[in-house]
Point group: C2
Chain length 341, copies 2
Amino acid sequence: MKRMVSLCLLLSLMTAGLVYGASGDGALIARAKQFFEPLPSVMTSTENPVTPEKVKLGKILFYETRISVDGTVSCAKCHPVSHYAVDGLRVAVGNNCKLNPRNAPTVFNAAGQISEHWIGNRKNVEDQAKQALTGPPSFGMQSYESVEKKLREIKGYAPLFRAAFPEDKEPVTVDNFAKAVGAFERTLVTPSPFDSFLKGDAGALPVLEKKGLETFLDTGCMACHLGTYVGGQMYRKFGVFEPYWKYTKSEKIDEGRYVVTKKESDKYVFKVPVLRNVAMTAPYFHDGSVDSLEDAVVIMAKVQLGKDIDAKQAAGVAGFLNSLTGGIPQDAQKVPILPLP
Amino acid sequence: MKRMVSLCLLLSLMTAGLVYGASGDGALIARAKQFFEPLPSVMTSTENPVTPEKVKLGKILFYETRISVDGTVSCAKCHPVSHYAVDGLRVAVGNNCKLNPRNAPTVFNAAGQISEHWIGNRKNVEDQAKQALTGPPSFGMQSYESVEKKLREIKGYAPLFRAAFPEDKEPVTVDNFAKAVGAFERTLVTPSPFDSFLKGDAGALPVLEKKGLETFLDTGCMACHLGTYVGGQMYRKFGVFEPYWKYTKSEKIDEGRYVVTKKESDKYVFKVPVLRNVAMTAPYFHDGSVDSLEDAVVIMAKVQLGKDIDAKQAAGVAGFLNSLTGGIPQDAQKVPILPLP
């Protein structure tokens, strides 16, 4: 009997512990759900519905170098799947070694943003794909007509475009290139442990990462880095409390979205970047001027929120950011074979 | 009864036809087997035995750009799987847009050759991988030490090298880089319909391709393009009957293997290239000066064998060469994810 009582006591204590832990986790999950949402399976678009045929074609076109002015540039050049769709360089390098004005953001989960590019000068992934073709430092083609000519010379593309755009009389166009690449990119969704956590699996995040999430929330990072993509939903001045270049290793001052709008209030304004897979996509910021994630976290707290966080807190936040590293869709990891002329 | 006799007659005629066709095919298979062999499953090496751990590491290293002087060059840059491991350019473009002296050959089935590079100045795939690191127009690194420093800075590599080279005290070395990449490349074997044909499946080649094989043999192409890899086994002067540059669109005269040996007899001598996947690896010749496979066939017959072949014959040979387009190993088509620093 005594033994039974002890057992009951033990069980009660264990249950209490479990309930306590669960309620702590439950509170954190509930708090997180106020700001974040799990990833969808595909980033849909009413303008460009995702179809298997478009995705198949888009994935092939993503690797196509023959439509660049020097035959060396494809989407995959600056967005290699092997490196979480970034090139690891400070700024992207395009045709004939031309430097792009800013760091190449990953195309994973990119279609969920309000716009593309650091300064939001691309409407969506389709617009980005299209404009890259004639971008002087990217594909560098003279005109869309010259791209279409090259695409039509590669005979193997005709049936692929026809299958993807069955209602078009002449389907091999730059607009359809953009739609196909866009459709492929809309499938590049990388669910991570954080998504499992948001769906109620408290164990998906180790203690350090949960602690880091708390710091992330307590510090106020989620004021801008929020939503399904943990960013990508608004524009903000980089350097709210102090100029960013005081802390980064920027070699020059970038006026940001001012370049697009010419409004004084847009000086040093950039799109808040998506933080999904951020641990895999160094170097950081629009100019790739900072190499370490912890350093980037410290700088962000300082210049955006006017807060000094210590190394332990920064490591915690970086730990949480690690939980945003997701799995790459199986199909995207399989390289397509390019068609013949 | 009458009907039965007719049936028997029909059957006899059909059998005779089959036997006749089969014997024709059988003779062609037998003739082909005098010169060619089916691909092995792996291109083995006693110096560098292929192990799963080396292949796994080698595939990752194949995509590694952080060990190049400007962070843009990996093995995959000039040998993308999506394009049958060639870049589609006349000559390869390396770090800082430097031009390589010659066209980048495919690394598929390359390990089966007597040497690597057009002029045979790389002993084997391991030697090629190693020397590429400090090759001024390729990775452009100053020294092997600087490569090892970079590899060691990427912390994720330590366990991968340790697993691949368990007996080494310091496994993260350039020599082990070379062995790992070499081991991966030794798995890049692409069995094709021609292998099925050599194994006795006469139906693996359509009539046009069989006709083309006959022309290939009748013309004498197999005097040099022979063996398992349909080439890659000897050095030959390019331009036996007439200077090659009379027919190609070469912009300059390449002295070939003379550059290596300084022997007069090696002037304009190149390694006979492997023809496996040749239909997928335009442009052609050491300088990539010819775009069409049919044109390349006509030029080869003219300058190497002193023969004029017509467009129909060239198309037939090109058809046969199509039967050398093989399947890419499943695992090689899956992009690896690079480790973190």
